[in-house]
């Protein structure tokens, strides 16, 4: 059966099994990967996957399953299992499926991978890295082609289909020289076309250069309160901590530090943050959300004001907050007006924080972690790469203690990140 035919069959199987409402999302994907291990292109992997996500509601009780088999017998059997889950559930008025929307079909990206180009560009990258930085080992990395077809239908008449594809490049690397090892570092991006010089993507070239000079590190003595400049890669990792309190779990449970802050200031007014899953600037776009709604670009923080939570359909019905147009993916920070040099010059004492390796922040936003691949800054000058240095602070306080945002931003294909400088962070050495 074709994907839509299969999805419709599964939707109706749930209704035949006794569901009041049913929703089905069928995903079919192909992934082609050339994988690097310790400088060698070691593996050529192709995976074919399909998965049906079944959602059934009877008497406001919900059953939810995901299964890979797509023949009619397996679908009929799964529909009975879903209804068993629904029968065991607790009735909840907030359980529902997506409302009717106009049918739509979305298509984005090439059909099928170009493995010859993938190989050629990956080989070029490894050769360039080996030539410029012979002591740096590309531990893992590669280039991956992902193609995904989605068919989403429900008993309210929702009927969406999408076919999206893109390439991903990633590299994890360590430098080893004179029996000394650097910290590992990594970067990566999503690309619409693999036929580009991978070394020139995002900050790859700069990070490899930094790694080559990070085998001899210096520890800091004591501790101080100072500034940290987060790089775009670091900010990309830290982003999930920033938005965590905006999701269902924290809002339904009432533990979100921002639960009373909708349409109120939560950060410095120079911060504006969008989530743009269908943004033109994104190489890897998503069109259909798991709740059965078409994804939309929206603004999460507008000049410091919290303009929306990241609530699902269930979270919205449970809390009374509006349903978000997306899941907070594809973050875009509005740029500032500073250059990186100016940002560094304005730091009396602090760190250029290139990677943060830390524990999950507390519910209140307290965080602490190790500054990896990072540099000590004093009197406006980068001094040396550091070892065994920890940074600690509080995320809401930090977002209100902004020094500056860079004008330059890095496009990772699913995010657009600047450098951001914050004050009031505890930096501690040995």
């Amino acid at each position: 059966m074709e994907p839509k035919e299969t999805a419709l069959y599964a939707r109706d199987a749930l209704l035949r099994a006794g569901a009041d409402k049913s929703q089905v999302m069928l995903t079919r994907s192909i992934r082609d990967e050339l994988y690097v291990e310790n400088g060698k292109i070691a593996l050529n992997r192709t995976t074919h996957n399909h998965e049906i996500k079944y959602k059934a509601i009877r008497d406001r009780k919900q059953g939810l399953t995901m299964a890979g088999r797509i023949d009619k017998t397996s679908i009929d059997s799964e529909a009975i299992q879903v209804m068993e889950l629904a029968g065991a559930a607790v009735a909840d008025e907030a359980r529902d499926i997506a409302e009717y929307q106009e049918p739509a079909v979305f298509a984005d990206g090439p059909e099928g991978s170009d493995k010859v180009k993938m190989y050629a560009r990956l080989r070029e990258f490894l050769d360039q890295a080996g030539e410029k930085h012979p002591d740096t080992i590309i531990e893992n990395g590669g280039i991956v082609f992902n193609q995904t077809e989605v068919s989403l239908v429900n008993s309210n008449g929702v009927d969406f289909a999408s076919r999206t594809s893109h390439y991903e490049f990633f590299a994890i690397f360590t430098t080893k020289k004179d029996k000394l090892s650097s910290s590992m570092n990594y970067t990566g991006c999503v690309l619409a076309d693999p036929d580009v010089e991978l070394m020139k993507t995002v900050l790859t070239e700069r990070l490899l250069e930094q790694s080559a000079g990070q085998t001899k590190l210096r520890a800091l003595e004591g501790k101080f309160t100072g500034d940290i400049i987060m790089t775009p890669d670091c900010l990309g990792d830290f982003y999930r901590f920033l938005i965590k309190p905006l999701y269902d779990n924290f809002l339904i449970g009432g533990t979100s530090i921002y639960k009373d802050k909708l349409n109120k200031p939560i950060t410095d007014k120079r911060i504006t943050l969008h989530s743009r899953p269908v943004g033109d600037e994104m190489a890897g776009r998503d069109y259909i959300g798991p709740d059965g709604y078409v994804l939309k670009n929206n603004t999460i923080i507008d000049k410091g004001i919290l303009t929306g939570f990241l609530t699902s359909q269930y979270g919205a019905l449970k809390t009374g907050f509006p349903r978000a147009g997306n899941l907070g993916t594809h973050p875009v920070f509005e740029p500032g007006d500073s250059s990186l040099d100016e940002m560094i010059k304005s730091v009396r004492r602090g760190l250029l924080l290139c990677r943060f390796s830390g524990g999950d922040p507390s519910y209140g936003g307290d965080f602490s972690g190790v500054a990896k691949n990072s540099y000590y800054i004093e009197n406006g000058m980068i001094q040396y790469p550091v070892s065994e240095v920890m940074v600690s602070g509080n995320i809401p306080d930090m977002l209100n203690n902004l020094n500056s945002i860079s004008a330059e931003r890095i496009n990772f294909g699913t995010s657009l990140m600047p450098w951001m400088s914050f004050g009031g962070v505890t930096v501690s050495g040995k």
């Binding site: 050339l34 291990e37 310790n38 060698k40 292109i41 070691a42 593996l43 050529n44 992997r45 192709t46 995976t47 074919h48 996957n49 998965e51 939810l64 399953t65 995901m66 299964a67 890979g68 299992q81 889950l85 029968g87 065991a88 559930a89 607790v90 909840d92 493995k115 190989y119 080989r123 080992i137 531990e139 893992n140 360590t174 029996k179 090892s181 910290s183 590992m184 339904i252 449970g253 009432g254 533990t255 449970k318 830390g358 524990g359 999950d360 507390s362 519910y363 209140g364 972690g369 190790v370 990896k372 070892s387 065994e388 920890m390 940074v391 600690s392 505890t426 501690s428 050495g429 040995k430």
Partner: protein, 459 residues
């Protein structure tokens, strides 16, 4: 999957080949403040083949486990290997012969509970909390069940099958102080299915009482003092220390990738009190949380001693790294899903117990911290590690003091392990742990309480 015989497909093998079929199932029930926010199940399964030809690996997978589907993945994996081999031309020679025939299942033999009964159990636990503890701002009760069922045949003659279940029940309680949320969580469970692990709710009630006691203490918690401190790491932290601080640096692929451990074989890297092993399936007479009898390359899994009384002894290997280092493979090649290739992964990594009592260890600290629970962690090629600590207490003059707020600890493992001066005589396994190296996979971690110096984040 139960009735499928893979052996006839070995007639289709041309090069070194692994053929695996696998089904992973996951079920979760979560009550959040009494709302059933999760009541879901997921099953993934299919066939995969990996072929080694002319020094290059080809891999393919699909969900169709019919003869047509299996034939397709074998063909595609072979073509993928050829694509690379024709371009890369790596030097290679055949892997030494190594095969195993084994079949092990840890499935329950008791009658399987219905979904309704499981939801009822979770609601009973939630009812205990609401009845006994008023004034909580939030509570989660989460029951999770995982089953991993694999069958494997290889061109070297291995035939292996295993079914490994894991079930955990997590309790998370929250309160507030001055509008700031505070939370504590803990879990019960590990290897086994619900029917074997949760025969009655009483042990869960005891855990809830303990979680609540810590929550009230943590509500008045203070920031740890940032910097180096003498600490007693509770037994449940020893496992993550073994995994993050040493384990990752001694995976042979990371050694080849620049890990500092490569320079220290047969050297003293830790206190002579420290012995650290990656157990295959059985440790100190007990089955480990993630028993591995044969790995996904069809190699019989055996224990790997990483540190013996302070001396770094060796690494964890797959077939290819073992060939590089000219040692026998250790059975550490593991794949998470049917669509994943085997990677060098830890299984059950533990520091072995010593001779001290936890109470004596705490009493011996003039000023420091007793750290009880860990959250996420990360390793590095330098052996610098970190992990989150959501629960701990000050130690002042040998006695426990105030609870501390969430913190992170770090250190350079090969320096920090030399500061170990005491190890408790008990052993605690964490049967809920996961490792995220490329693929997220279940691991076991264990150890005793450890007295040492580590760096804390704080104020």
């Amino acid at each position: 999957l139960e009735s499928l015989d893979l052996k006839p497909y070995t007639a289709l093998f041309n090069n070194y080949t692994e053929l695996r079929i696998q089904e992973n199932s996951f079920a979760v029930i979560t009550l959040n403040n009494g709302n059933l926010v999760q009541n879901a199940r997921k099953i993934t399964g299919g066939a995969s083949a990996r072929v080694y030809g002319s020094g290059s690996w080809g891999f393919a997978s699909c969900q169709d486990i019919s003869s047509e589907g299996i034939g397709k993945v074998l063909t595609e994996a072979g073509e993928n290997a050829s694509f690379l081999a024709s371009r890369c031309g790596y030097a290679h020679k055949p892997f030494p012969e190594s095969s195993v025939r084994i079949s092990r299942s840890h499935a329950t033999t008791r009658p399987v509970r219905t979904q309704k009964e499981l939801v009822g159990f979770v609601r009973e636990i939630d009812g205990y909390i609401t009845e006994k503890y008023k004034g909580l701002t939030n509570r989660f009760v989460t029951l999770s069940a995982f089953n991993t069922h694999k069958k494997l045949v290889t061109s070297q003659g291995s035939e292996a099958e295993s079914l490994v279940p894991r079930t955990t029940l997590v309790i998370q309680l929250s309160t507030e102080k001055e509008s700031q949320p505070v939370e504590v969580y803990d879990f019960l469970g590990g290897l086994g299915q619900f029917e074997d692990l949760f025969l009655s709710p009483e042990p869960v009630y005891e855990m809830i009482d303990e979680v609540y006691r810590h929550l009230i203490n943590k509500r008045d918690g203070v920031f740890a003092r940032a910097g180096l401190a003498e600490c007693v790491l509770g037994p449940s932290l020893a496992g993550i220390l073994a995994h993050e601080a040493i384990g990752h640096t001694t995976e042979a692929d990371l050694v080849l990738g620049g890990s500092v451990a490569g320079e220290h074989v047969d050297e003293l890297v830790a206190s002579e009190l420290v012995t650290l092993t990656d157990f295959a399936h059985t440790a100190l007479g007990q089955t480990c949380p993630v028993p591995v009898y044969a790995d996904d390359e069809g190699v019989e899994a055996r224990d790997t001693i990483l540190i013996d009384r302070g001396i770094l002894k060796g690494f964890m290997h797959n077939r290819e790294s073992a060939e590089h280092f000219q040692v026998p493979p250790t059975g550490n090649a593991r794949a998470s899903e049917f669509s994943d290739e085997p990677l060098i992964r830890m299984r059950n990594t533990a520091i072995l117990p010593g001779n001290d009592k936890l109470e004596e260890m705490i009493a011996s600290v003039e000023e420091g911290y007793y750290l009880i629970k860990s959250s996420n962690g990360q390793a590095d090629s330098t052996s610098e590690f970190m992990f989150g600590v959501p629960l701990g207490y000050e130690i002042k003059k040998g006695k426990l003091g105030r609870a501390i707020k969430d913190t992170t600890i770090s250190g350079v493992a090969f320096d920090m392990l030399k500061t170990v001066t005491m190890l408790s005589d008990d052993m605690c396994w964490d049967g809920s742990a996961w490792c995220g190296k490329k693929q997220t996979i279940q691991v076991g971690m264990g150890g005793p309480a450890i007295k040492c110096h580590v760096t804390l984040g704080g104020r």
